[in-house]
Symmetry: C2
Subunit: 234 residues, 2 copies
Amino acid sequence: MRDAFHEDLQTISERLVEMTRLAGSAMARATTALLDADIALAESVIRADVELDSMREELDALSVDLLARQQPVATDLRMVVISMRMSADLERMGDLARHVAKIARLRYPESAVPADIRATVLQMGQTAERIVAKAGSVIASLDADAARTLERDDDAMDDLHRELFGHLIGGSWSHGTEAAVDMTLVGRYYERFADHAVSVAHRVVYLVTGEWDTGADHEDDEDAATRPVRPGRR
Amino acid sequence: MRDAFHEDLQTISERLVEMTRLAGSAMARATTALLDADIALAESVIRADVELDSMREELDALSVDLLARQQPVATDLRMVVISMRMSADLERMGDLARHVAKIARLRYPESAVPADIRATVLQMGQTAERIVAKAGSVIASLDADAARTLERDDDAMDDLHRELFGHLIGGSWSHGTEAAVDMTLVGRYYERFADHAVSVAHRVVYLVTGEWDTGADHEDDEDAATRPVRPGRR
């Protein structure tokens, strides 16, 4: 019985890693679609999101089934409960990639991203890809030290988010309100994507260190948005 | 044993209802703080959020403890797992109220809300209060029909969100980029708040009808933002 249980746990872990791969690919493609006004790519990201949704459903059904059949305790129980939280994070990351792709689609054939902030948005996309790839490695390795390094990538994302808001409200924005609305939302989507990746990493840390802390959801750094680089109304 | 178990479940249900009350109160006060530029009220919302965070931690610890001690199956197991998801929704709703309060605090002594959209923001706040109050009733009553009515309140929120975006990108926005950024974020916070309340209601429906559907997270209606009332760039 225990062996079957640990095989199931291994399956869950592998599926979670696969979810990080899909979420990372979705955000990478959404970023390209956004920057290049690539409608076909945007559509493919939007369509593919159901895959992450159904992976989460299958994983959670498997987890609940495991709880009912095997009635795990201690670390095994924690592993199952935490897996369900991770799958929720990863499914949500897919939603956020889809949101980015939808903005790309809405503004087609134009790019939603004004030229002077393309570099910032590109870096946000790259940071998102990097952080979710690391989250995948950390799920596979259960390496708490590696998990803690995701904080640094999240700090990098927060810096980029602040940079983006500096452009928006620094007083020199010349791209109109609609582009400002788009970039506000896009900035928030990338930031939340990184937050969920950090939540995944936190959950690994708690799993490994044995400290049960359900408050391991990463608080989102809305201060990046509400505390601009240059404060004050124009 | 079973009686103790059901007493614990009742405790969890009552605590969840209390969380809806706190989340509703937080969003009501955040809305007032935002509209009236009331810094003391904003600060109180920001401070109080830790209460919801720790309620979630306690609830989840109790749930995991219940799983380990009682090893419930079938409906009982589903109830515990779903309760953990609800506490996550409600904790997040508290975060969103805190975000609104932080924007109020940031713009003090001015109000972040331009005069011509005060009515819309007020209605978003009232809709948020109503929907979370209903979520609380539904947790207490486990009434699936009542739970389904939250969709209508969520539709009302989506309409208000569209109205807000109509102001923002309709071409007549005269309040500058910073206010546009603030209102974009505020609109998103209210919309997400309602989405989480609907998720809570969906979870009750699945609990009562016995259909296990882990996809019961309510998808957020980002289309309210990305599909404006009047399309096209200015």
